[in-house]
């Protein structure tokens, strides 16, 4: 790294440059490295990012459960006259409300990417132009298929997580928001604000049934992501050399050893 101006305490001048992979894939700045040497912890996820994560997780949970029920409704209930009973209406209401929360939170998250730290931007792009990033991606893949003895240290997402996050959250959630609002626009009617903004999506899909099916498949994609995400987070928390679960609670990434890479 040529722009390293900060005087880093190096116990051994012959030692290799620390965090080489993380630096070259864009995850570690010189000051991060110094912070790492000093306290072996880096502040990664700022409060708004963490709050977004948990709000998003809650919204997605509600959306998946209610979304599944909207396509496969619960058995008929005869609690009261139809006028006084609103079971399915409430399920749909929960779905729409959670969808709105998710959308607003996501917009807030995009805004935070502009003003937050460098890690708040990582999710929104994939450095496909960086050959080193690809090599590290394959390294991480090899780690997951047990071909590497030891994983590397990362401050932000590792390249594999980075790619998954971009695909399923940045692209996937955008797809779900756009198709979701297009379906919502069907209920609010032609000429309404959702229709003016997202009505073109229905036209692109050709018919409403197809749009419903696409949205439904999107739900399963997000479900898969959630399963893998939770598994990977727990596994990495145990088996990798850095903290995972506490990081998304406190924001600090701690490391289990003081080796440089």
């Amino acid at each position: 790294m040529t722009d390293t101006k900060i005087n880093i305490h190096q116990p051994n001048p012959e030692a290799p440059t620390p965090l080489e992979a993380a630096r070259l894939t864009g995850g570690a700045r010189p000051e991060d490295i110094e912070s790492l040497r000093l306290q072996a912890a880096v502040y990664v996820y700022e409060a708004p990012v963490r709050m977004w994560h948990w709000l998003n997780a809650a919204a997605i949970t509600v959306l998946i459960v209610t979304g599944y029920l909207i396509a496969s409704p619960p058995p008929t209930m005869e609690i009261a006259e139809a006028t006084d009973q609103f079971v399915f209406g409430y399920i749909r209401f929960a779905h729409f409300a959670a969808g709105m929360v998710l959308t607003v939170a996501f917009l807030g998250r995009i805004w935070w990417a502009f003003i937050g730290n460098r890690h708040s931007r990582q999710m929104f792009y994939v450095p496909v132009w960086n050959p080193r990033w690809w090599r590290e991606l394959f390294f991480e893949l090899r780690w997951y298929v047990f071909l590497e003895k030891e994983p590397k240290k990362y401050i932000g997402h590792n390249p594999l997580a980075h790619a998954a996050m971009f695909t399923f959250i940045t692209l996937g959630m955008t797809f779900m928001i756009v198709t979701g609002f297009a379906l919502y626009a069907e209920g609010t009617g032609q000429g309404s604000v959702p229709d003016l903004m997202f009505g073109w999506v229905l036209e692109m899909a050709g018919n409403s049934m197809r749009l419903h099916t696409l949205h439904h498949l999107g739900m399963w994609a997000i479900t898969l992501f959630a399963i893998i995400h939770i598994y990977a987070a727990i596994r990495e928390d145990i088996m990798s050399r850095q903290s995972m679960i506490t990081t998304i609670i406190s924001g600090w990434r701690t490391f289990k050893d003081d080796r440089v890479e």
Binding site: P73, E203, L224, I227, Y231
Partner: protein
């Protein structure tokens, strides 16, 4: 332009009283979603305007649109609506046949160049140079192109002309193609449905006559006054939907109680049409009212959206026919099993590493 009778002339000639005529005008205004102020306007147009010449051509179709049209429920429909337009060519309804009929078509195009409306029922098949539909010895697509060339506007009657319907369903061996994909330089109004509702058909024509312009169209080119809402939005069973009261099986008690047909695959929530408001056969009923779900006949590609009786329709990508849920559960199962295996492998690997490290440690200590 030669002298053509006005609609009013025709109506009176057919013995229709002025009172009935005014009734027709106000009902039409109501059907079109217009205020009472438009009733005299419609009446005036009908009294003074010459009838619009219409050429009605038939491609690959079942004639259900014509069957629906001639049953327009309004009292005046069967006489007046057919007289309202000057139907100069319609090979199904006209008395002339063979060369005489084809001559009438050529005459009409020549006489009213740029002024007639082309109504298309059915669609042209394009495979084998259009050989799958021959009209007067020539492929229908040629007749369509010729007639469209000088038309003022085109009405695509029914799902066939609008979207392709059954003959365009996969694999579409004849390459039946909706009108707007063949004729691209004319204003086209789509009036989808299999068939479209009679009053919707006559309503569209009346609007065009009265105001000399196309009705307001939605994004897909359908008249917004009839196709801007879903069956579901105006369904009288909607309260049962919101309550979560569904028919579970065709002959269950809930079916007798008239609960929502959502679980029986009713396509009302995904279908844009006026059935739940205008209804059929003089407003007598419509599919849902008679206890059967909507099949979504006025939607693009409705034959290819899986079964009429399934809520979740099948997708046929990669040669697999399954619903989104079947795909989803299968993938979750596979991934779940994969994760379980991965957990086991990770644990083994970790244990192995631990024992190796311990061995190493012992060695260095020793």
């Amino acid at each position: 332009m030669p002298q053509i009778e006005t609609f009013y002339d025709v109506m009176r000639r057919q013995g229709i009283t002025r009172r009935s005529f005014m009734k027709y005008c106000s009902l039409t205004a109501a059907a079109l979603g217009l205020g009472p102020a438009f009733v005299p306007k419609i009446a005036h147009a009908m009294e003074t305007k010459p009838r619009t010449p219409v050429i009605w051509v038939h491609g690959l179709e079942c004639t259900c649109c014509s069957e629906s049209f001639i049953r327009s429920a309004h009292p005046l429909a069967k006489d007046v609506v057919l007289s309202m337009i000057s139907l100069d060519y319609d090979d199904t309804l006209m008395a002339a046949a063979g060369h005489a009929a084809e001559a009438a078509l050529a005459d009409t195009i020549e006489k009213y160049k740029g002024n007639y409306i082309l109504a298309v029922e059915g669609n042209p098949p394009l495979n084998e140079d259009g050989m799958f539909c021959i009209i007067g010895g020539r492929p229908f697509v040629e007749q369509l192109r010729e007639a469209a060339q000088h038309a003022k506007a085109i009405i695509s009657w029914g799902a066939c002309a609008s979207y392709g319907c059954v003959q365009a369903a996969a694999p579409n061996p004849t390459r039946a193609t909706p009108v707007h994909k063949v004729i691209t330089d004319k204003p086209i109004i789509k009036v989808p449905g299999c068939p479209p509702i009679a009053e919707v058909m006559t309503g569209v024509i009346t609007y065009m006559l009265t105001f000399d312009r196309l009705p307001e169209l939605d994004r897909q080119g359908r008249p917004a006054m009839f196709y801007s809402q879903r069956i579901h939005d105006k369904c009288y069973r909607r309260p049962h939907f919101d309550a979560g009261q569904f028919v579970e099986e065709w002959d269950d008690d809930y079916a007798r109680k008239g609960y929502c047909l959502y679980k029986m695959g009713c396509k009302g929530p995904t279908t844009y049409n006026a059935c739940s408001t205008v209804r059929w056969n003089e407003g007598v009923s419509f599919p849902i009212q008679s206890g059967h779900g909507c099949i979504g006949c006025s939607e693009d590609g409705f034959w290819d959206q899986g079964g009429f009786y399934d809520r979740l329709t099948t997708i046929k990508q990669f040669g697999v026919e399954a619903t989104a849920d079947q795909v989803g559960f299968a993938t979750v199962g596979v991934v779940g099993a994969g994760i379980a295996a991965h957990v086991a492998a990770s644990a083994l690997k970790r244990a192995q590493k631990k024992s190796q490290d311990a061995a190493q440690h012992e060695k260095t200590e020793a």
